[in-house]
Assembly symmetry: C2
Homo-oligomer: 230 residues x 2
DNA sequence: GGGAAGAATTAGACGAGTCTAATGCAAAAG
DNA sequence: CTTTTGCATTAGACTCGTCTAATTCTTCCC
């Protein structure tokens, strides 16, 4: 049996591999998990012993297929739980992260199956993130990108909102910005702030660090393509 | 924060206090939790440091009011989870114990509240055990006693079935013996076996160690009292 | 009251996961 | 090609929960 800690390390390594170039550096893992570098070193040694990561000393680690399987399983648990807490227990989507972060390590496979069935085998969680199932997590929607990368006047749809700080999510939730929301970039202020207008007509000002959590795509991508071909 | 282990010790002590005479001996705790006596000793020392138990060396421990509060909270979590898993996720009542045994330590108070609300504030779990709420666990139904204590011909109702071995519970479940079932003691064999007949007419033979898990009461106790007064 | 039997505690060790402080390696800068 | 700088690793220690082996306390019996 894998400890909850080991699962956390694998999950972090999986995420970091996606965000940057493998191999993943020890210090990056340490920072992500809020431990000191020696702690991360000793942990990746244990993961190496278990053949969950491949390691090159002084360079970093990459997940083995087994390590990746475990990471995906944990991410699946996390996202199923978030969906479940939101849909079945009435949690606000901005407050499910902490609860799922803990429970993901403690539910059985039976629980996982039953929750997935109760939710009708969902493929996307309430933050707009895909729920992996055994196989590789579906490739990032290639058209999704950070809100900040778009200029003024861009018409966009919120693809997902990264689940980090709960206060930030609550703020976005209350402002009406959730996965699926359509918006227009109104103003990109040079002082680290972006203003967007929603369909409701409301304008919302967002400091860069919050705008960064919002991934957007061109709305009705495929449909738009079809139309332009006509 | 209290560790899951400490919670397990408090829960065990609570149960043992109810079953026998306080104080609870170290060796009994050790046996219940399947650890060695020195382990139990060192743990009760820590519980004493935290003022969760009162301890007399070489005698045993009793819960302080704070320790009892924690124990009840854990038991409430356990029973709410069992009810939830059975009612909302379709688990068989005989297989919920293991899952609840783990999750009880990891759900938040928010989760507890929401589950209780979703189940409409239940007061009894699927095994027939009361679900405590802040206050002391309701006194054992005084008329409930072990099936084995009744002679042949006794008409009884199953009050609850202790949640222990999952195979035993599955067996009882399949035989149609669940909380609320009416039965008659058919035969008490001198070889450690009891036979009961259900309303369905079916006879079920039970070895003593399984019969011991079944708590019974005279059916419609209060109603019978009312009637006899007339 | 004096042992003997049985239970509880102390002593000392270990693995997991963490830390701080000291050291070692590697890559960039000159 | 050598030095510097910065990240990674090693060394050593601590806490938690556990163990085995040794010791000490209680109690009960003669």
């Amino acid at each position: 049996m894998l400890s909850a800690k080991m699962e956390d390390y694998l999950k972090a390594i999986y995420r970091l591999e996606r965000e940057g170039e493998p191999p993943v550096a020890t210090s990056t893992i340490a920072e992500t998990l809020d431990v000191t570098p020696p702690t991360a070193t000793s942990m990746v040694e244990k993961l190496e012993d278990r053949e969950l990561v491949e390691r090159e000393k002084y360079k970093g680690v990459t997940l083995t297929p087994e390590g990746e399987t475990v990471a995906l399983e944990v991410i699946r648990h996390h996202r199923l739980l978030e969906t479940f807490l939101t849909e079945e227990l009435g949690y606000d989507w901005s407050e499910v992260h902490e609860e799922a972060e803990i429970l993901e390590h403690h539910i059985s496979e039976e629980f996982e199956r039953r929750v997935a069935a109760a939710l009708d085998e969902p493929t996307v969680d309430p933050h707009g993130d895909p729920i992996p199932n055994d196989e590789l997590e579906p490739i990032d929607d290639h058209s999704a990108s950070a809100l900040a990368d778009h200029g003024e006047g861009a018409r966009l749809e919120v693809a997902r909102v990264r689940d980090r700080d709960s206060d930030e999510l609550t703020y976005l939730d209350e402002a009406g910005i959730t996965p699926g929301t359509d918006l227009v970039v109104e103003e990109v202020a040079p002082i680290g702030m972006v203003t967007v207008r929603l369909d409701s007509g409301e304008s919302v000002a967002l400091p860069d660090h919050i705008a960064d959590a919002i991934q957007v795509r061109t709305p009705d991508d495929s449909v738009a393509d079809e139309v332009s071909k006509v």
